[in-house]
Amino acid sequence: MDSILRVENLSKSYLSGDSSLTVLKNIQFDVAPGSKMAIVGPSGSGKTTLLGLCAGLDKASTGDIQLHGSSLASLNEDQRAAIRNEYVGFIFQNFQLIPTLTALENVMVPLELQGKSGAEEVAQELLTRVGLGDRYHHYPSQLSGGEQQRVALARAFSNRPRILFADEPTGNLDEETSAQVEELMFELNQEAGTTLIIVTHDPELAEKTDRIIRLKGGEIVSDSAA
């Protein structure tokens, strides 16, 4: 497979009252398997919208996205969910852990959704790997921000995704914790050989990837090696 993610002539518009608001215009790029890429740009430039579309969380207005060889435009929401479950991992700025599940259960969810056995062992292994071997049965509200993001990291890698989307992964963390989480994220990524796409405001984090796409006003203004 030449590219794990192919974006072709992608546009996204929203209806705002009677008028149409275009947030992404004619976006086009390819991502090679195993590569690390950052999407940067000012607030409102369309970064998060682009990430959502690439991960199959939303549908494009025009154009297409090929994720791991599947054209997302032709799939319905449940089919896209199956793709996400199989090939995609996520890390969010606000962690997005399920508050009613323990750390261990949060990590187990993607594997359980696949119906695979041994979810608990995999989850325990990953939580130990991120340094939370003694916090399996804690609920998110009993964990600090950094710990929550480490649980999210463990969850993101639990289904051994081919591609990991990270939306401002350190945006809610202090400098020291951010550094720890970044390090862990790149390590895990390295070990699993996962393709990594990060949306960030942080130029230092972006510099740690292989390639940076800059967005402004919904358009790609530059696409260069980091």
Binding site: A81, R84, Q96, L113, G115, Y139
Partner: protein, 855 residues
């Protein structure tokens, strides 16, 4: 993609949904308990009523022979003729006669007198069941001696004891025992017609039965295997009618009681169902708020690859489980509470009602509770299907409008059909059950309309110059996430139900009490022989009682109708001729030359006097009776038999009669100049001036004219009030469920609002708002909400009770606002109290603690 087969996938999804439903519920169970609470009470009400109904059906079946005390009873308003005796010879088996009539009795110990129903009974009756008496042996003992069984309420009222004397006519009987229950008699009726049983062999000595006395003659038969079949009796029916006899069988009595109580349990069932529906509004609200909080979890799960169906199933399983737990607990509670119903209703029941647990009633309660709870919960639950995984990135991504979702409309339709189906099963009439659904829907719509109206007006005319606290609290009523709609609907409906009950109870009591006021007559002396009237009037004079009315009363029978004989008509089964009841009844008529103020001629012309004996006699008939029972029009010919003399009359006019007035009102009215010489009784109506004089007069009357009876309206009013109080208690029992559910919904709504309002309160504190200010904002919001909900409910109750008073009870509409004001204040205090308790827990914590926890 997944390498599992579609079946494996489906199984896996379901197993995952169950697992997640369990995990997710662990931290939310206290919130789901609110949802369960309404279901528990609603189902408990249904199960209690259904169990009572089931037990009653079973008891009626088991004790059916005791409903009659015999296999067959034949009854007549005239002494059994030779022909009647010959006819009854066909029934082979022991029999027992009973003659029943009204009479005054005197308690010599105290000198008190009272009108009672004397029943002279032969040995034998009851053939099934027994007289329940204190002492127990009195039921058998009294029959051989000069002893009487006296109704327990009567003994209590006059402080009579077993062994005391009671004078009936010319005979003084010893009271053998206190009568608790007679087979087939409803205890409540004894409050109106207190029964006194005496042995038949002493009847003549009382000298109470004279020619023309109103006596009901009954012959009870114990026939065992010789009991004639329904068909055989049906064949004999024309002969019975001809002889003016009626019969009653165990089956008929059982069906009659069954029908009457079936109606009662169905009515109570609908009241319970209405309470359950109210609870379901609370369910919908609780689930709505619960699901709203869960939307982010759903978005995360969708993002991680969960299918829409799986996440929907996960929450549906939670709701189903809570619905099941609620329904099961409700069924248990209802089965426990139903033991109260036979106790409350004991005096209305002709049998001893049991209080066994009914599994079918529990099953129905659980099914109805589950069904309706899940349907109501589905409305907010459907939003889960519309959650976009994009919400994980943007919290503002909404779930889309439910109004475009076809499933929403299907669920609404399902709710409508479920309610209609339940009502139809209870009522059995398509149209009436539609009226029930329509009335419920109208009630909800009016309340919802009021809530929206108030929100619109507050927004439109927002008091910008008011203080910050008031502006905030008023704005909370229409801001997003407001509780106005749900509070007004739920609390308003509960208030409306309970206030309507209070209004109706008050009006019915007032209606009875009205008759007790001012210069209205309060005593009726009846069955007075014309020759005794001058002396009785003189006696009245000594006590200064004016004769308000002196009305002659002539009894007669119908013998011809529009030229056809009664015998011929009895054989005609078409609906165009009068039925047996109308043809066989005894007509008690009066004559006078004018129309009195409680009546009005609505058709034809009233001719008050017949001057020439050859003139045609034009009588006046009560409008409803003329059209529905006698089936006559102006000019039709009707012939009566007055003591053997045939009297041809023509229908001259129809009158509308207000039977609720304390006056002698008659269905058939003759003009002057016809019946003056006929055998007659007189009815004297008077107004007493003191209880003491009233008692003295009654005593003197009973001593001198034992066959003359007195109706003391004060006593009747007292009895009427007592009956009403007992009926009210039954209704209040059901009202208890409504108000409890209303309270639960109130608590649920207030606690739900905590989750919606807490961030605002905390932010205000963070921005420097004092604790007192925030408490005041919340307090005023709850005061406004409580007031709005209660006042809308009370207004609805005013409208509903007006409709009931006007169209159903036909009584004067004069609601007593005192209980309504008490309810209004009570609801406001409760709302504010619960609201303040709720917010208090949060006020004790630091803003940071709350913000970090993201409650």
């Amino acid at each position: 993609m997944s390498d599992l087969s579609p079946q494996q996938n489906k199984r896996n999804s379901l197993a995952w949904a169950f697992k997640m439903a369990y995990r997710d519920s662990r931290r939310s169970r206290s919130r789901l308990i609110l949802f369960t609470g309404s279901i528990i009470l609603g189902v408990a009400a249904l199960v209690a009523i259904n169990t009572f109904g089931d037990n009653l059906r079973k008891d009626i079946d088991e004790q059916s022979k005791e409903l009659l005390g015999a296999d067959l009873v034949v009854q007549s308003n005239q002494a059994f003729t030779d022909s009647a005796n010959i006819l009854m010879e066909d029934f082979e088996g022991p029999s027992s006669d009973e003659y029943a009539f009204s009479s005054m009795v005197l308690f010599p110990k105290t000198g008190d007198t009272r009108a009672v129903q004397v029943r002279a009974i032969e040995k034998g009756f009851p053939f099934f069941g027994k007289f329940e008496t204190v002492p127990e042996s009195a039921g058998l003992e009294f029959r051989d001696q000069k002893k009487a069984l006296v109704d327990q309420t009567l003994m209590m009222q006059y402080n009579a004891k077993v062994g005391d004397s009671i004078k009936i006519g010319n005979v003084v009987f010893e009271i053998a025992g206190k009568l608790l229950q007679v087979p087939g008699q409803v205890q409540m009726m004894s409050m109106v017609y207190a029964p006194v049983y005496i042995p038949m062999q002493y009847l003549d000595k009382t000298s109470l039965i004279k020619k023309g006395s109103r006596v009901t003659y009954k012959r009870y038969f114990s026939l065992g295997e010789n009991t004639p079949s329904e068909e055989a009796l049906e064949e004999m029916r024309p002969r019975f009618r001809e002889l003016r006899l009626r019969y009653d069988t165990v089956e008929e009595r059982r069906d009659d009681f069954g029908d009457a109580f079936e109606g009662l349990t169905r009515f109570l069932n609908l009241v319970a169902f209405a309470a359950l529906l109210l609870g379901c509004v609370g369910v919908a609200n609780s689930v709505h708020v619960y699901i709203k909080d869960k939307l982010s979890t759903v978005a995360i799960l969708r993002c991680l690859g969960a299918e829409g169906g799986s996440t929907f199933s996960m929450y549906l399983i939670q709701i189903l489980f809570m619905g099941l737990v609620g329904s099961l607990l409700g069924a248990l509670l209802g089965s426990g509470l139903q033991v109260i119903l036979p106790m409350i209703l004991r005096e209305f029941l002709p049998i001893s009602a049991s209080s066994d647990i009914s599994l079918p009633a529990m099953g129905e309660g659980i099914a109805v509770g589950m069904g309706i709870a899940v349907l109501f919960a589905l409305l907010p639950l459907l939003a889960i299907r519309r959650v976009s995984p994009l919400m994980t990135l943007r919290a503002s991504s909404n779930t889309g409008s439910g109004s475009r979702d076809i499933w929403n409309w299907l669920v609404v339709l399902g709710i409508g059909l479920f309610i209609w189906g339940f009502a139809y099963l209870q009522i059995g009439e398509i149209q009436e059950s539609l009226v029930f659904v329509g009335a419920m829907a109208l009630g909800f719509l009016i309340l919802a309309g009021a809530a929206y109206g108030v929100m619109f007006l507050l927004k439109r005319f927002f008091p910008r110059n008011w203080s910050f606290v008031f502006r905030q609290s008023i704005a909370n009523l229409f801001r997003p996430n407001n509780q106005t709609l749900i509070m007004v609907v739920a609390i308003g409906m509960g208030t409306a139900l309970i206030t309507t009950l209070f209004f109706m109870q008050g009006m019915l009591v007032k209606n009875i009490a009205l008759s007790d006021q001012g210069q209205r007559p309060d005593m009726v002396v009846y069955d007075a022989a014309p020759e005794d009237v001058p002396e009785i009037t003189k006696l009245m004079d000594t006590y200064d009682f004016p004769v308000v009315q002196d009305v002659p009363l002539v009894t007669m029978q119908l013998v011809e109708w529009k030229g056809r004989s009664r015998r011929e008509l009895l054989k005609d089964t078409t609906r165009s001729v009068p039925r047996g009841g109308t043809l066989n009844r005894e007509y008690r008529v009066t004559f006078r030359d004018s129309i009195i103020d409680s009546e009005e001629v609505v058709k034809g012309k009233w001719i008050g006097e017949i001057k020439n004996p050859e003139d045609s006699i034009f009588i006046s008939v009560e409008e409803g009776f003329a059209q529905r029972s006698l089936k006559v029009d102006i000019g039709d010919e009707v012939v009566f038999d007055v003591s053997g003399l045939k009297l041809k009359t023509y229908i001259g006019s129809f009158r509308k009669v207000d039977f609720q007035r304390v006056q002698t009102n008659f269905i058939v009215l003759f003009p002057k100049g016809v019946l003056e010489e006929a055998p007659q009784f007189r009815v004297l109506i008077t107004k007493t001036n003191s209880n003491e004089n009233s008692a003295k007069f009654q005593r003197a009357l009973a001593e001198n004219y034992p066959d003359v009876s007195v109706i003391d309206l004060a006593l009747i009013l007292k009895v009427g009030k007592e009956i009403l109080e007992k009926v009210s208690f039954v209704i209040q029992f059901m009202g208890f469920f409504s108000i409890s559910i209303g309270l639960l919904v109130l608590i649920g709504s207030v606690i739900n609002s905590k989750y919606q309002r807490i961030r605002e309160s905390v932010l205000l504190r963070t921005l420097g708002g004092s604790r007192r200010k925030i408490l005041m904002i919340n307090a005023w919001e709850y005061i406004f909400l409580g007031f709005l909900a209660a006042i809308t409910g009370i207004l609805l109750a005013l409208a509903a009770s007006w409709a009931l008073a006007e169209f159903s009870f036909e009584i004067e509409y004069a609601p007593d606002l005192a209980p309504a004001i008490a309810i209004l204040i009570g609801i406001i205090v409760l709302t504010v109290g619960i609201g303040m308790l709720n917010i208090q827990g949060i006020m004790g914590k630091s803003p940071l603690e709350v913000l970090r926890k993201e409650i």
